[in-house]
């Protein structure tokens, strides 16, 4: 691992409680949602990780509990270093603080997390759905959300499916 990255991680390990995972040169720190904002502030101000590349979430239901992992990847443009943060969030009333004050591009990505997973972002300036229609019920990228597919019409069941399919008349 790069030395500067190592110094940054060691400094973080002293102040906060983190676990470290490394895979083929990429480092990932597992942190808790209470310390997320402070860790991001330290990384941004002191260690120059000024660019938020990735902000997504993963659903590990039903294998793991806590169910969601929210993934942040910060990049330092001057030093060409990447660091990843993972925050485990439980499935019951999930919520996270917003990073909009630190990284402006977190705005739409946090809206996407709310829309697709149902993880509330506290303090977000514009909390509304971004990909689905505004009155949609449910959060589509959760593992227990139905696929929502329509049955394929072959020649043997074409007429049955055709009767229930909504067609517009003018």
């Amino acid at each position: 691992m790069n030395e500067e990255l190592q110094t940054a991680i060691s400094a973080l390990e002293e102040k906060f409680s983190i676990e470290k995972e490394e895979f083929r040169g990429e480092v990932s720190l597992i942190i808790s949602s209470d310390e997320l904002w402070q860790i991001c502030q330290v990384l941004r101000e002191i260690y120059d990780f000024k660019f938020l590349e990735v902000l997504t979430a993963v659903d590990y239901w039903p294998e793991q509990d806590p169910r969601f992992h929210v993934v942040y990847k910060l990049y330092s443009i001057e030093k060409n270093l990447r660091i990843g943060l993972r925050v485990p969030v439980s499935g019951i009333e999930p919520s996270l603080p917003t990073l909009v004050g630190l990284f402006q591009n977190a705005n739409w990505r946090e809206r996407e997390i709310w829309d697709m997973f149902g993880i509330r972002i506290d303090g977000h300036p514009d909390p509304r759905r971004i990909l689905m229609p505004h009155d949609w019920q449910g959060h589509p990228l959760r593992k227990d959300y139905p696929l929502g597919y329509e049955e394929v019409q072959f020649s043997f069941n074409a007429e049955e499916i055709d009767q229930d399919k909504p067609y517009a008349e003018e």
Binding site: M132, P146, L147, E150, V152
Partner: protein, 160 residues
């Protein structure tokens, strides 16, 4: 025919009203600029030099629905876009026709899920379906010619 034998050299031609109106509508059909996804690229290719659609009178693609009479829905329609599509269709004045271009607009295509409308005929009545993913510009031109045949066959009863 009788009148042309008598008055042929005077330059008078007789034609049925339906034929005249349908001929006029066919050769001056202005499509609305409505490309949604990948099929829009093929529609642009159809409008460009090699597979020229302006030879059918579609030189301009009007961006406003108020001045167009053909809506070529090229691309997948999401559930969020569906009310917008219906609004644009309602804003087009009569007579209007709809070509559903590509698989996603005709039947949902490969996207069989919660977010994509499975066939744009759930929202509006379609005249011609063009299959393909994406259909080649020649296939789109074939679809337009099929629509022309359909319009040529319209009678006064269908106009009413």
């Amino acid at each position: 025919m009788g009148i042309e034998q008598k008055a042929g050299d005077l330059g008078a031609v007789t034609i049925r009203l339906e034929q005249a109106v349908n001929w006029a509508r066919t050769y001056a059909m202005w499509p609305m600029l409505f490309g949604l996804a990948c099929c829009a690229i093929e529609m642009m290719a159809g409008q460009a030099a090699k597979y020229d659609m302006s030879r059918f009178g579609m030189e301009l693609m009007r961006a406003t629905p108020r001045q167009s009479d053909l809506m070529i829905i090229s691309g997948r329609v999401t559930r969020k876009m569906a009310p917008v599509l219906r609004l644009l269709y309602d804003q087009m004045p009569e007579p209007k026709w709809v070509i559903s271009m590509g698989d996603c607009a005709s039947c949902g295509g490969i996207f069989n899920n919660y977010a994509i409308v499975q066939g744009v005929d759930e929202i509006m009545p379609v005249d011609v379906y063009v299959a393909g993913c994406p259909p080649r510009p020649e296939a789109l031109v074939h679809g337009i010619l099929t629509l022309h045949d359909k319009v040529r066959g319209e009678t006064i009863k269908t106009w009413a």
